[in-house]
Amino acid sequence: MRWLVALALLLVLPLVLPSFLVVVMTEIAIVALFATAFNLLMGFGGMVSFGHAAYFALGAYAAALLVKQAAWPMPLALATAPFVAAAGALFFGFFIVRLTQTYFAMLSLAFAQIVFTVLFKWKTLTGGDDGILNVWPPPALKSPLAYCYFTFAVAGLAMLALRAIVDSPFGYALRAIRENPRRARFIGVNVRRHQLFAFVLSGFFSGLAGGLFAFFNGSVFPDFAYLNKSFEPLVVVLLGGIQSFFGPLAGAVGFKILETFIARQWPVYWPLFLGSAVVLVVVALPQGFVGLLQRRSWRIRAAR
């Protein structure tokens, strides 16, 4: 029932909201997908990546290049983008999962900086600093409303797939590794291989988010692979709640709404505000926004 209400809201809201909010909603869906893919690693695998923008950018550039250079149709380019990102995640991840904790984070960051540098410097292919412009979806999807629904459908299906992965045997073993890698080994899990598989899946869906964003934005830039973009899912997950599957979704909604209304009014103070918000949530609400809901529903249950 709750699901039907949510679905109905998602279908009706874009029709009644002003068009700039439709654009915001589209972006929320993309950020939510990116953060949920990121949280497969952080929340369920216990691996904190500081360089997930690499896979977002690989997806975005793959989609843009396939449409612009190879003249592929947009759906095919978008469908290929996650595979390019996954290939990148497989290659970088092979080295990254050999490390743990801080070293894991730093190596993931280093690889993302490499991706950024390549995108920035390889002017003949990527256009360097100028990026790739006029990456638009076909006419049928060009209106903000059409692309909003399209994004809801694609990102929604992708998040359902991620949900299924979390609840699958693979997801169980991934959580077991998060809890206790040594014990996981002694029940027969090949820990590194499992972590690499998770890394590739996370890269795959990050790349899909990047592909969606390329056509949403109409252009791609090297910034997509930069630090700021890497920290975005981290902030979103911290805001929304790391322990819950839907934490990143809640975080994306909160993050984008704050950004829309505060960053536009007072752009100079936006980082200060965001920083304070993160500190507040981490200290006062370690379960994130979702924790607020869960604590209330827990109280209701306890009161019965």
Binding site: A164, I165, D167, S168, P169, F170, G171, Y172, A173, R175, A176, R178, E179, N180, R182, R183, A184, R185, F186, I187, G188, V189, N190, V191, H194, F197, L201
Partner: protein
């Protein structure tokens, strides 16, 4: 390289490991036949846990060989040994604390049945009944839905036993299974392990500080001292061994009483 003595589940030959200048395990030859309930005892620092870690692939050894069910397994990682039928528990309880007791055992069963890379099916119902049987077997049936991290210490140790049993091992290695437990509980969990071993016809090797427990359940005892085996035999033989009396038992009974 084939091991000549086929009836042995576990055999080590000249196993050595040093940490810096300390020779923690110094040429251990161990032969554990099928169905044995073998205690490895020795004073603190005798090398019991290191020996366990070498045998189970948790630590690389410097030299020597390890045979499991007739095949050499030296250098194999823990997950490969687990698949061949070697399971273990740890001195410090090692479970998946934020998973429920049921999820703990289900994950172990899923992995044992090589289903753990499957991303296309929900896991919730898979091997659920089997997991419940295992939980009942160790006396945790009523706590299946509890996050394992908030269970009592004794129950966590039982859960770890269930995790080890999930892989249907031929050899179960228990590193101080009763550590941190009350005396009555100690006898309970060892009796439980022994009963399970008898049912499933599996071999157990365990270390233990509580001599009452050791002499109550062990079929044979190996005494480790300064990284080497100084005596081996039935509880009666070991108790009467003058060398053991000197380095371990005598010393202990003096401090204990």
């Amino acid at each position: 390289m084939a091991d000549p003595s086929g009836a042995l589940v576990l055999r080590t030959v000249g196993l050595r490991k040093h940490f810096g200048g300390v020779q923690a395990v110094n040429g251990v030859d161990l032969a554990v036949p099928e169905g044995d309930l073998r205690a490895i005892i020795g004073p603190n620092g005798a090398g019991k846990t290191t020996l366990f870690n070498l045998i189970t692939g948790d630590l690389p050894h410097d030299s020597g060989q390890i045979f499991f069910r007739g095949a050499e397994v030296s250098g194999l990682p823990p997950q490969a040994l687990c698949r061949r039928g070697l399971a273990r528990t740890f001195q410090v309880t090692s479970i998946f604390r934020r998973l429920t007791a049921l999820e703990n055992v289900q994950t172990a069963l899923l992995t044992h049945h090589r289903r753990h890379l499957d991303i296309f099916r929900p896991a919730r119902r898979l091997y659920r009944d089997e997991a419940m049987i295992l939980l009942d077997r160790v006396g945790l049936g009523a706590q299946a839905a509890k996050p394992s991290g908030i269970m009592s210490h004794g129950d966590q140790r039982r859960l770890e036993l269930a995790l080890a049993l999930a892989s249907e091992p031929q050899l179960l290695m228990l590193d101080e299974p009763t550590a941190g437990m009350a005396p009555r509980e100690r006898h309970e969990i060892m009796a439980l392990a022994a009963a399970i071993a008898a049912d499933a016809r599996l071999t157990i090797v365990f270390t233990e500080h509580d001599m009452d427990v050791v002499f109550a359940v062990a079929r044979r005892i190996s005494v480790l001292h300064q990284g080497g085996v100084i005596a081996e035999g039935t509880p009666l033989e070991v108790r009467g061994d003058p060398e053991v009396q000197r380095v371990y038992l005598g010393h202990r009974s003096k401090t204990a009483h």
